[in-house]
Amino acid sequence: MNISGAAVPRRASSSTSQSQQGDDILLSIHGLSLSIDTARGKLSILHDVSLQLARGETLGIVGESGSGKSMTVNAVLGLLPHGARIDAGAVVFLGKDMGALDEKAKRALRGSRIGTILQDPTASLNPALRIGHQVSEPLRVHGGASASQAHEAAVDLIERVGIPDAQRRVRQYPHQFSGGMRQRIVGASAISCKPDLLIADEPTTALDVTVQAAYLDLLSGLQAELGAGLLFISHDLGVVSRICDRAAVMYAGRVVETAATRTLFSSARHPYTMGLVSCLPSITEVGQRLTPIPGNPPDPAEGQAGCPFANRCPAVVDRCVSEIPALREIAPGHQVACHRADEGLRTQQLWPVTSSITVSDRDDVPERSDRTPPTLELSRAKKLFTIKRTLLGTPSVQFCAVDSVDLQVFRGESVSVVGESGSGKTTCIRMALGLEQPTSGVVCFEGKDIARLDRPGRREYRRRVQAVFQDPYTSFNPRMSIARVVAEPLMELGDMSRQDISTRVDEVLAQVGLEPRRVRDCFPHQLSGGQRQRVAIARALSTKPHCLVLDEPVSALDVSIRVQILNLLRDVQQDTGVGILSISHDLGAVKYMSDRVIVMHRGVFVEEGTAEQIYHRPQHEYTQKLLADAAAGLGVITS
């Protein structure tokens, strides 16, 4: 059923009684438009969003940050942030127009009829209240359960979500549980009143890969058991495809395509969906080059005259710029908002995957031999952290973050270390960068221990080894202009004139695809995440390094921006022959850019090999599990 915006009455409570599908429809959103007053003026967050969810059905909402998916959830829950206003349309849940209900009636639905799981399990639970209390709280609030009933229910629920020793654990506090367990607890609380609708807002994003798959299974199980509808929000099409029958793709506050998840993978009709599908790293082969979606999403402060995707779309025609495409049904259950949806555009045409030259084909990279020492080397490097001290200050409990690892990075090659959070990979690169001293073992730069370098040696080390960090929002001093940020490593070398430095800054900014004249005098907060990450790369390249150390360089970025940065890194490596040491928590993410992959687990390297070996013939049990978990997030593709 398609409802175009104009045809929908503003408060559609009357239309629900006429609903053709009757009792089956659990939740329907009709032409919802929402705006919010901010310091920057009025921002239009949602435009004419229409969605339907039947009992027992699972619907995914996929979108990048700013696509409006979270605000859609807020509207469903009736928990809009301060300053937000519904301009048109309605949310109808169980036949009731949520907009017409007063706060008390909405509160009665939340927690009892609608169970919600939020993104960050470490922040969702109140640190000062016992787990049992928080799990059974909806029962007390809505069902009037007595203390003993609530306690018994909490024990049952916690057992139900797979946490052993429930009797004891209900009395504990959130900080005594791991992230994955806390998210299970949040789930237990969400189902405590046997809701009709489960809303999960990015429930696995903050979890480790190995825990994600199990959590998705749990969620599916709970949903099936309750027969509830599930509204699943995610930025990751792969995860959505694993758990949802149908998915809606949102872009810039609009639903651009709705279809069965299988259909989205096999025959998406909207160029944006096709782009998202082709951006999934796991479906590409080692050495393939991805075609990124260029540009950035539109600014919600600017009005939209045409298709919001027009400026990034490879299939754009004149009509796209002047007329907003309506969401229309092109096949049963498949709706697209694109003027060219009927023309049979194919993913391969729009977003071609090209084969790239692999680094080993190159000949200008110095030949690796026993004589040339590696640019960076960790040998028998070990790092202990003290967790607890006795009253006298001597360490009583120590944690071995990295246990005697050997690692070499040569110029021209790309080495990736993959592991879960807490595996020690970050400590590894912090030691390589001289930010952390190894407890034992040595870190060498071109064969020399970095702890014993003389002044010129140290300067050479700082010149030749540069780094890019994960978070483009914290990597810059907010009070330094981009030109100064990029120039800083050059200024520290002290062997270039101001003029030369300035020229070099422009050179590297251009190299990373930024316009030097436009960004030079900007401050970091004026750039988008993707642009900042480009600046970070420019800064790292400014000294012509021999080795780049990358700390999850794309994991904080949106899917469509990720591929842009990965391609850039690949290009840079081919142009300059720089060696790359990168770390990642996701095997899928590094597949595309590594020659060698090292799998790290609990402080040790469990497996090391070429990308080919690791992905196709994993030997170690843990590697196999990681691969399986990465694939599990992409059910449709691998099956």
Partner: protein, 305 residues
């Protein structure tokens, strides 16, 4: 938790030790007490023998150790003005200050905390703006002035309350009001801001998502956490009370240690000053320690560690 308390206790003892050094040094720097004790026509020998009896001819370290061991036994020497042990002089006025201070402390907390919580709950509402305005005014009101004006209004003009002294419950009203005005703004603002902070957290959102009523969200979910940072400010309020008592007791002629210390300074009665300074800093440090212990008891992270 035991370890946490032990660490805090050690820190508190170190602080007390530090305060004792400061008090001792100030006492030395305040000039030769002998000059105050002997008559104007005393001979050099008399002065020297008195110095020797008082141990002033020994090294600073030795003098400090003597001071410390005497202090531990509660001996701070004789009050120069009253000619009896300084500790006794101070102890006779401690009670009045404690009475005044604890009543004002209670009133401050009972007013500031609920006001701060409700102001945060309705941010930018009428109540919030009102409370913020009053807090800003309270912060700018000099307490000597407030006290004087209160006396002018209620005692002189209206004649309903006594101007000074500590007889009967009526005499508490004006000093307590002045102290509360002096101390309330900080606590009020911090309660409000830490409530705003917790109200913005994800767990408060999660509680709302569970359908918890606004009242329960406010008190059970938000305040329970905000109270931890409010609690840590409790010791600062105590400090304000001690500081404020000096002014308030002077204005209202309240027979407590605040007025005593001002009198003692004017009478150059240094042993008494010493005892009061040390008493006040120890009171504050211990107050802070009690707050730390309470914090540990209320914070599950520390309690279960």
């Amino acid at each position: 938790m035991l370890k946490f308390i032990l660490v805090k206790l050690t820190q508190a003892l170190v602080s007390v030790f530090g305060a004792s050094i400061i008090v001792f040094l100030l006492a030395r720097a305040s000039g030769d007490p002998v000059n105050l004790m002997v008559s104007a026509n005393a001979t050099t020998e008399e002065i020297e023998s008195l110095r020797a009896t008082l141990g002033l001819d020994r090294s600073l370290l030795e003098q400090y150790l003597t001071f410390l061991s005497n202090a531990l036994r509660g001996d701070f020497g004789q009050s120069i003005h009253y000619h009896r042990p300084a500790v006794d002089v101070v102890m006779s006025s401690v009670g009045a200050t404690l009475m005044l201070g604890s009543i004002a402390f209670l009133v401050t907390v009972l007013l500031a905390v609920p006001a701060g919580v409700y102001a945060a709950a309705r941010r930018d509402g009428r109540f919030d703006r009102c409370v913020r305005g009053l807090a800003a005014a309270a912060q700018a009101l000099p307490s000597p002035w407030v006290g004087t004006l209160l006396i002018l209004l209620f005692s002189v003009t209206l004649g309903v309350l006594p101007t000074s002294g500590s007889q009967g419950w009526q005499s508490f009203i004006l000093p307590v009001t002045t102290l509360v005005i002096f101390a309330i703004a900080g606590l009020l603002r911090l309660t409000r801001s830490s409530m705003l902070e917790t109200l913005g957290t994800e767990y408060v959102r999660f509680a709302r998502v569970k359908g918890v009523s606004e009242r329960a969200v406010l008190w059970r979910h938000a305040f329970r956490n905000a109270s931890l940072s409010v609690l840590t400010l409790g010791a600062l309020v105590l400090l304000s009370m001690l500081s404020g008592s000096i002014i308030v007791e002077t204005v209202f002629g309240w027979p407590g240690i605040g007025r005593a210390v001002v009198q003692a300074v004017n009478q150059r009665d240094f042993p008494v000053v010493q005892v009061i300074v040390l008493f006040m800093s120890v009171a504050y440090i211990m107050g802070n320690f009690v707050v730390d212990v309470l914090y540990a008891c209320l914070n599950p992270r520390i309690r279960s560690a």
